[in-house]
């Protein structure tokens, strides 16, 4: 998959080099269709999406209604929509963690069943193939899997830093966590400035941020889920090393309430200027350059998240997927697919990026847009996408996340040692898989 990605990026770069006006290609003709309704959340990238929808209506004459829903209500509405007789929505926007429930429950129609000629353009980023579903393996993969969704938005986390503080202290962007800690020794001066902030709040917050450390140390939650081996490996020595490193960074660089920081708190600390470095989700970038929301406009830079000195560079995906519910008449499904086809085209994606959203085509990233200062994070984003992967890609994902979200937090706040936390997590997770009939097992427990 990495090779495919590299070829795609290379092709895009070459294509853009030899056809400088490729972005101004003709609008895609998708035909006339009845109006559709999309379930979508209000989010930082909603503005861009709305602009693109308006463009769609102008160019094709097909009408689109957007039901903007609070994020906290998205899953509920999506579930209700597919469990009734007829879905009130033609496209549902699903967070990556919810997709498996919908794929496996048979609630959505594979996109190629609606129109066999539909395919994701090869420039569209793969996002860990979260849009595919292989029902036999119960895994999201294009190998033997059907295309179920297309991505309207994808996120990874960046490592961000204040380039003005770096210049004063004579630092350079770090490649490893050890370098980050070294930077902290110069930058961390509580209570005025914190060296580095990242999420530590119980739940999805700490799970997501910690998994960068986990990936960095080559640890995994299960041995080989894709091939059905759900032996729990969360309490491996590598995972313990990852947790210890995470706690070390938090202690040496972070505020006293590191165990209560959510993404909003991290953004707050960075945009008020109180934090010198941080790990933040790409979706939050717009905050930093908005004078109404930030005291450090133009002073924040992004690079890929560092790796441990003895590890590999990590990137955990968190993307949205749009699916077509099953309980719809055919013409509505076709209309939804027409929008998808139009949306994924190069001109639409460019308009999308210009509207303030994160595009999903690699050629949009590689285009001249990347040269504008407000898109200075494109490089880091694209680089991370080339090695990004999905985590928790199984039906029990939500339960596993809640176990991890609790145990990691308990280790961070010092309620238990990292060894004990991981052992407890492993025990709970093994129980979850066992109850669901997976082939599972455990590693020998870590020293506590």
């Amino acid at each position: 998959m990495n090779i495919q990605r590299a070829i795609a990026v290379l092709t895009a770069v070459v294509a853009t080099a030899i056809t400088p006006f490729a972005a101004n290609a003709q609008a895609v003709d998708v035909g006339k269709h009845p109006p559709i309704t999309i379930l979508i959340n209000s989010s930082p990238w909603y503005g861009g999406f709305e602009k693109v929808v308006q463009l769609y209506e102008q160019q094709t004459g097909n009408r689109v209604k957007l039901d903007t829903t609070p994020f906290g209500g998205m899953l509920e509405k999506a579930r209700n929509a597919v469990r009734g007789q007829r879905s009130p929505y033609d496209l549902l926007n699903l967070d990556t963690q919810w997709t498996i429930e919908f794929y496996e429950g048979g609630f959505v129609t594979p996109l190629k069943d609606i129109d066999p000629s539909f395919d994701l353009p090869k420039e569209v980023l793969a996002y860990g193939e979260s849009g595919y579903w292989n029902a036999d393996k119960r895994w999201r993969t294009s190998k033997g899997g059907k295309l179920m969704a297309f991505p309207p938005n994808g996120n990874v986390a960046f490592f961000v830093y204040r380039d003005d503080l770096y210049r004063t202290a004579g630092l350079k962007p770090p490649q490893t966590w050890e370098e980050v800690i070294a930077n902290c020794s110069k930058l961390h001066q509580p209570p005025n400035t914190y060296g580095m902030v990242m999420r530590g709040e119980r739940g999805n917050a700490i799970r997501y941020d910690w998994m960068y450390f986990m990936q960095g140390k080559n640890a995994t939650v299960v041995r080989d889920a894709e091939n059905g081996d759900y032996t729990v490996t969360i309490n491996s020595p590598q995972a313990k090393a990852a947790l210890d490193l995470f706690i070390d960074v938090a202690k040496k660089c972070g505020p006293p309430n590191a165990g209560a920081l959510g993404q909003g708190d991290v953004i707050q600390l960075l945009s008020t200027g109180k934090a010198a470095q941080g790990m933040v989700i790409s979706a939050a970038w717009a905050n930093f350059d908005d004078a109404n929301k930030s005291a450090v406009v133009g002073r924040i830079q992004a690079v890929p998240v560092p790796r441990p000195a003895d590890g590999k560079p990590p990137a955990v995906l968190g993307n949205w997927n749009m699916v077509v519910p099953r309980n719809l008449p055919d013409e509505q499904k076709k209309a939804a697919l027409a929008f998808a086809r139009w949306f994924l085209s190069a001109p639409a994606q460019r308009a999308y990026a210009e509207g303030g959203s994160i595009p999903v085509r690699s050629d949009t990233f590689a285009s001249d847009l990347a040269k504008q200062p407000k898109y200075r994070w494109f490089d880091a984003y694209l680089k991370m996408q080339s090695y990004a992967s999905q985590e928790l890609g199984y039906a029990e994902g939500a339960q596993v996340e809640q176990v991890l979200g609790l145990r990691l937090n308990q280790a961070l706040i010092g309620e238990m040692s990292s060894g004990r936390a991981l052992n407890a997590a492993a025990k709970d997770i093994e129980e979850i898989f066992r109850k669901n009939g997976r082939r599972t097992g455990a590693l020998p427990p870590l020293p506590e």
Partner: protein, 283 residues
């Protein structure tokens, strides 16, 4: 026998001062955070995040909440107003009648215990487990995405508290008054309308205010049974609590905007109830 308001309980001077001081303190503590929220609504997000006390005020948040493309706040307020007023009136009527019936007429213990017990059990069930079946039911009936579905469910949700509250207030009315009226040839309906209800007026107002507020602020059912056009104020305000951060400045403005119509409607409703009751009252 005098009954009712104007209880300027004549307590001694120093006690009065202490009482007044405590009252001022309590009101300050209660109102303080609300004033703070109102203050935040005039700040830019960065000023909120830094907790700045010195800042240049702006109306941008109100503009964004009320007039921006993605926000149909005026429509949401209208929806909330309709649903809250309708469900409050209905729940007061249905609940008060039921409460009076249970209080006044000798229903068998089995029936009254079953009904009251069921209301309590229903009140104990977490709402989140009920919205699923309600969605399915209302969708089948074609009432999904209408305000009617919300009105009906809100009435049901507020019914237990209204019934119990009105029963407590009816119980406070001395029996002799009603007995005397009936001996004088007053009919049951008249006894209710002209005697019991005016005497229980404070309870009616309290129940009405609570039912109105609960309906106005109800989120789970409103989220499930509505879509963009029929969404109510809590759903609209929740849009500012996004996946990764809260848009505090707009949320503060939205909260303030949400409070004002509710206060206005309650003040009007209260006056209406009081006037209506005093018209029919026989003191």
């Amino acid at each position: 026998m005098t009954h009712g308001t104007s209880t300027a309980l004549p307590f001694a001077g120093r006690e009065r001062a202490i009482g007044l001081a405590l009252l001022v303190l309590a009101v300050a503590v209660v109102v303080g955070p609300f004033v703070w929220i109102a203050l935040q609504s005039f700040k830019r997000q960065i000023d909120i995040l830094t907790g700045a006390w010195v800042f240049t005020p702006t109306l941008a948040n109100y503009v964004d909440v009320l007039f921006s493309r993605r926000s149909d706040f005026a429509g949401n307020v209208t929806n909330s107003a309709i649903v809250a007023m309708a469900s409050t009136v209905l729940v007061l009527v249905i609940g008060t009648l039921a409460a009076y019936s249970l209080h006044r007429f000798r229903w068998s213990r089995a029936i009254s215990a079953a009904f009251l017990g069921w209301t309590l059990v229903f009140h104990m069930v977490p709402l989140l487990t009920l919205v699923g079946p309600w969605y399915v039911a209302f969708r089948e009936l074609g009432l999904y995405d209408t305000l009617w579905a919300l009105v009906i469910t809100h009435v049901t949700i507020n019914l237990p508290m209204t019934v119990w509250l009105m029963m407590a207030f009816f119980r406070e009315i001395p029996h002799e008054i009603e007995e005397a009226a009936l001996v004088d040839g007053c009919r049951p309906l008249q006894a209710f309308w002209r005697i019991a209800l005016p005497l229980a007026a404070p309870g009616l107002i309290a129940a009405g205010i609570l039912a109105f507020i609960f309906s106005w602020n109800e989120f789970s059912v409103a989220l499930t049974l509505t879509s963009r056009e029929t969404a109510t104020v809590p759903v609209a305000v929740a849009r500012f609590a996004q996946q990764y951060e809260v848009q505090h400045s707009q949320m503060a403005a939205a909260s303030v905007v949400s409070t004002l119509p509710a206060l206005l409607l309650m003040a009007l409703g209260q006056r209406f109830v009081v006037r209506g009751l005093t018209l029919g009252a026989v003191k």
